[in-house]
Symmetry: C2
């Protein structure tokens, strides 16, 4: 079967278990992989992308490099990993300007720096178009898998929900983001939140959201539970950009590139989680709860599964 017909999710499902160790801190197919070393989980993550597929209108190589490190870091942090360093694998056309490559790497370095980490080199190869992979490693004393039990609460960390979706919509419609500074910032400099590490030991589970909230919630439901949304964050600028509630919800659910986390909180820890999040300055939005069954619902309406896939 060709990859186009198989689909990315099915392909990843087949590839993820190959060579993956038994008894690892996280199961295969989770947001990052890892091994135990003397009671501490060491996590490794690689995320790759084509430049033209993520560079929005007005985005310079600096922001694309920044975004690359952010994407990989977001997965590590969602697993309660403290990122230590990142490497870049670059495919570059030979007629590319040197300044472009330098700026790309400077942006990656800036994201690493803002996460208290560093760049640790990488590799360059000739390629037909600009493509990057960013790898990062982290240690986690209490690695947090994707996990949920009926009765748990679902929270959304961060404040980029709908904003990155708006920026992507603006790009494809040739609309500029003048007057929407938070939308532009969310898409151009989506810094993952180290504050999440302040919730260590309190959560049931966590998932990085980068293929869109709906897809992320469906991946949660794939664990064998039902996700019942009771509310979604509708920021005034997202609403203003979208022009209507229905359109704004669409951006929140199907935007993608948030690099935020969906958190699963045991009911008995809810109060402590909220206090701790407030203490470290992490925005949390109560979105719903986990039930028995399957699927993702917003009120009584099923949330269709349509996320971004590469094949």
């Amino acid at each position: 079967m060709r990859l186009r017909d198989l689909g990315e999710r099915a392909l990843l499902g087949k590839l993820a278990p190959i060579g993956y160790p038994l008894g690892a801190p996280l199961p295969p197919g989770d947001d990052a992989g890892g091994v135990w070393v003397e009671g501490v989980a060491w996590l490794l993550k690689t995320d790759g992308f084509l430049y033209r597929e993520v560079a929005l209108l007005g985005m310079r190589p600096f922001a694309v490099g920044f975004r690359g490190v952010a994407a990989t870091a977001s997965d590590l942090i969602a697993k309660m990993g403290k990122p230590l360093g990142f490497t870049l694998g670059l495919f570059l056309p030979e007629d590319l300007e040197e300044a472009f490559a330098l700026e790309l790497v400077e942006g990656a370095a800036e994201a690493a720096r803002r996460l208290g980490a560093c760049l640790l080199g990488g590799d360059t190869n000739r390629g037909q178009e600009v493509a990057l992979t960013v790898s990062g490693f982290a240690y986690a004393e209490a690695p947090l898998p994707r996990r949920a039990l009926p009765g748990d609460r679902v929270y959304l960390a961060g404040d980029r929900w709908g904003r990155t979706g708006a920026a992507i919509a603006a790009h494809y419609r040739g609309r500029d983001l003048e007057g929407f500074p938070l939308i532009q910032e969310a898409a151009f400099y989506p810094l993952p939140r180290l504050e999440l590490l302040g919730l260590k030991g309190l959560l049931r589970g966590s998932l990085d959201s980068s293929d869109g909230l709906a897809e992320t919630l469906w991946q949660l439901a794939d664990l064998g539970v039902r996700v019942d949304l009771e509310a979604l964050p509708l920021y005034p600028d997202v609403l203003a950009f979208a022009g209507g509630e229905e359109e704004a919800y669409e951006l929140v659910l199907y935007g993608g590139e948030e690099f935020e986390a969906v958190l699963v909180v045991p009911q008995e820890r809810e109060e402590e989680v909220l206090l701790r999040a407030q203490g470290v300055g992490l925005p949390l939005f109560f979105a719903g709860h986990i039930g028995e069954g399957k699927g993702v619902y917003f009120g009584a309406r099923p949330v269709p599964r349509r996320g971004y896939t590469h094949f």
Copy 2:
């Protein structure tokens, strides 16, 4: 300036220091990067390549996946790192057969397994042609940089010298490797040598060789010393394949893809290194010594610098 005019070495020289931490266990531009965590060096390495640039005649996706992990592992091991796990960043055309992708990853898993490590997932993206990056992490109690002092001895570890060069030459000349099993094995399954870790604490410095021996020795000379070769390994099969000594030396010096290590040994430790290498079963070949000055010489003749670069 365009990358084509700048050249890969100059580009890497400019990119390597960006965002690289001060006081790291290895300097920027070394075979791997790393950070100290509680007195232990944690190393991270990424190496990328286009499938068509490394797949020799008769090489299946399995061997190419194997080669990918081997390349990254070789850098980590040359720095005295014990590899723990690897991730793959895959760019795949959408009309590629699923079986191809699975085999590629199976080969990578086999190399990881033979190194006592594992695969820790990765990422897939659509690309115009098959491209891979392999990232790996390792810990090193005594990380070993590229380093040399006048008076030191130069040894070549392993037995792939000239053999991988012969396999590459065979590929480009459409010649088959029937009758040259060690040459084929060296190129198709170049397993880096964990035995190198048995020399921990005894060496002055070490360099991974993957762009060819001459280029690797030139990188050693770039540290501000002169490399004087007194001998080069000429295996009977390489000699037979090449058809003459001159041609065989060419393969040894300019072959590439060895994934072996060039070791720099302080004179006073030479005996202990040889004993220890024998004890762990690591082939070592005495190649020459380090002097004051610059450049690379074989006897009185300068060794020209011409290695493989991507731009």
